[in-house]
């Protein structure tokens, strides 16, 4: 694959994750270009975190994975690669920021050493002392006050926001081409979230790293990302630029999600808009269109899986009865 030449960092094709006879994720295709920030949104059980873990090769062993995940600069497919090969890729070409910074850090190791270790591991710094001073530099770049002092601290001595900055520093340590962020600010306070998002975006931009940003918070995605993929029931149901998808959603699920998250908009009875029903458990989504049992537009033909409508994989939707293109939902 010549992903690097075309400016594509990540290329996912026919990705399927399943357990026994149940499909949990079925993603046809998506690409991420160099330096691009792409949001992956959906509710619990939509398959968004499984997709991210599949990209990292971190799925539980009991899950079956097929398809293709190619990363620029890596000469093999990430699907089916063994742990030893993946260990060379993870932290070097692709890095991850988790939701819970406390569990992502080793509690018995000074944070400076943890940042330095990532660099030593992949040989991006020759000596221990060079890695140490580079680690302090990185901590400064993610706006940790007094980085020399902080480098000698243990994770429990830092606040939640500072821990997440350390995790980001570790993720950025080897200038990866892709940064996968799974709900990186969900556990943080609003004011801290704003600062951590800023550090994340500017840190990635400074390195030309692409972001795959997973969250259920539409406002955060809209603030951070340029493009967005909407997932439901393991499928990408809509994709496009943030501006398009969030102002002119075509898939009824996207429209419902936007309406439900808009706390300023109410219906005629003064109530918040909701999506009917609840997300089914894995394996209990309907055949055909996965959203049809909750969809206001559903008709009989929805029992057949809807084809992708749109110029390409990066823009379009999968729905037989889309929301009319003119309606502006979610702007109350």
């Amino acid at each position: 694959m010549t992903a690097g030449a075309t400016g594509t960092v990540l290329r996912v094709r026919d990705l399927a994750v399943g357990v026994r006879d149940t499909d949990l994720v079925l993603v046809d295709a998506f690409d991420i270009a160099r330096g691009e920030r792409v949001g992956l949104i959906g509710e619990s059980g939509s398959g968004k975190s499984l997709t991210a873990l599949a990209v990292m090769g971190l799925l539980d062993e009991g899950l079956q994975v097929s398809g293709s995940v190619r990363l620029a600069g890596v000469d093999h497919d990430l699907v089916g690669a063994d742990d030893r090969r993946m260990a060379r890729v993870r932290g070097r070409h692709v890095a991850m920021v988790f939701q819970e910074p406390m569990t992502a850090l080793n509690p018995t190791m000074r944070v400076g050493d943890q940042v330095a270790e990532t660099m030593l591991l992949h040989g991006s710094r020759g000596s221990r002392s060079a890695a140490r001073s580079a680690a302090v530099d990185l901590l400064r770049q993610v706006h940790i006050p007094d980085p020399e002092q902080a480098a000698r601290a243990y994770p429990h001595q830092l606040s939640g926001g500072q821990r997440q900055r350390v995790v980001i520093a570790i993720a950025l340590a080897n200038d990866p081409a892709l940064l996968v962020c799974d709900e990186p600010t969900t556990a943080l306070d609003v004011t801290v979230q704003a600062q951590v998002l800023d550090v994340l975006v500017s840190g990635a931009a400074a390195r030309g790293a692409a972001l795959l940003f997973i969250t259920h918070d539409l406002a955060v995605v809209a603030t951070v990302c340029q493009r967005v993929l909407v997932m439901y029931g393991g499928h990408v149901v809509e994709a496009g630029t943030v501006q398009d998808v969030f102002t002119r959603p075509r898939h009824p699920y996207t429209a419902g999600l936007l309406a439900a998250s808009d706390l300023d908009a109410v219906d005629d009875r003064g109530r918040l808009r909701t999506i009917a029903g609840t997300v089914p458990a894995a394996g209990h989504f309907p055949d055909g269109c996965v959203f049809r049992n909750r969809c206001p537009n559903a008709q009989d033909d929805c029992a057949v899986a809807p084809p992708w409508t749109g110029p390409h994989q990066a823009s379009g939707y999968a729905c037989h009865h889309p929301v009319p293109a003119v309606a502006e939902v979610g702007r109350g």
Binding site: V19, R20, T22, L24, G42, S44, G45, S46, G47, K48, S49, L50, A52, L53, D60, G62, L63, Q99, D182, E183, A281, A282
Partner: protein, 285 residues
């Protein structure tokens, strides 16, 4: 969150067979069955002394031979299984009946009371179980019951400890707080919420302690502080075979194997139960 959910989902699907649980359960069932059968049938009277058949080798009349008194080894092993189960049940019951309430108390009481209870139990833990059994035996006369009460008392701290840590965990949950907000008294929270949630831990501890009790009884009988004659006991069979170790090693071998299998069975059962309970606990959380 999906990330947290997915492994749980996968676990649910992969409720794979648990070999140690199966093997442990089979071995334990074998011991129980043997003990039950011994009530209605044994090849010979296990306590009948028949001088003419002393130290027979294994053969058609006596499958595993006879000992120096002419006791049939198979019959002795079968009735000995009763003793073995009896000691396990007594020791574990004593330990659980004392240890679980103490653990609950230590877990829900104000911090200093809990600490005090635990330090006192630590004191008990510092006392070797066998020594305690020998002391009790000397004071009240050697019998299976005294030996097992002693082993049970010595095992109280481990039950209390495990119950306390489980209780502390439950007490720090929101549902314990919710119960208090609903107007439950602390004791009711302990009984209604903590107890059911630590039950699985206690069951695992019980099966491991059962194995330890069996070993202790064997050791005590071997030393002469356990089950007095004529009641057959695997430990005393070992002791009686001692002087004949070079003449008839089989007399040490058979009770040895029986003890090893029973202990292995209860240990595997404990391990298996732990594996069986832990993932389900996580699933439900």
């Amino acid at each position: 969150m999906t990330a947290a959910l997915a492994p749980a989902v996968a676990r649910g699907w992969r409720r794979r067979r648990n070999p140690s649980l199966v093997v442990g359960a089979v071995l334990v069932a074998l011991v129980v069955l043997t003990a039950l059968v011994s009530f209605v049938w044994t090849p010979h009277d296990p306590t009948f002394v028949e001088a003419s058949v002393r130290l027979r080798g294994p053969g058609s009349g006596y499958w595993l031979g006879t000992d120096k008194f002419g006791h049939d080894v198979v019959s002795q092993l079968m009735v000995g299984a009763r003793t073995t189960l009896f000691v396990g049940v007594v020791a574990v019951s004593v330990a659980a009946v004392l240890g679980v309430p103490l653990g609950l108390l230590a877990g829900m009481a104000p911090r200093w009371t809990g600490e005090l209870v635990m330090r006192l139990l630590d004191l008990l833990l510092a006392f070797p179980a066998l020594l305690l059994a020998i002391m009790l035996g000397a004071a009240f006369g050697a019998s299976t019951l005294t030996a097992m009460v002693a082993i049970g008392i010595a095992t109280v701290p481990s039950f209390a400890r495990i119950t306390r840590s489980g209780t502390l965990q439950v007490m720090s949950t929101d549902y314990a707080l919710a119960a208090r907000a609903a107007g439950r008294r602390p004791s009711a929270v302990a009984v209604r919420h903590a107890l059911p949630n630590v039950a699985s831990l206690v069951i695992v501890q019980a099966s491991v302690s059962f194995a330890i009790a069996i070993l202790s009884e064997a050791a005590l009988s071997f030393l002469g502080f356990g089950t007095p004659p004529p009641t057959p006991s695997w430990g005393r069979m070992l002791q009686e075979s001692q002087e004949l170790l070079f003449v008839a090693p089989r007399l040490a071998l058979f009770p040895g194997i029986a003890i090893a299998l029973a202990v292995l069975g209860f240990n595997l059962l404990g391990d298996g139960l732990r594996d069986r309970f832990d993932p389900r606990l996580e699933d439900q959380r």
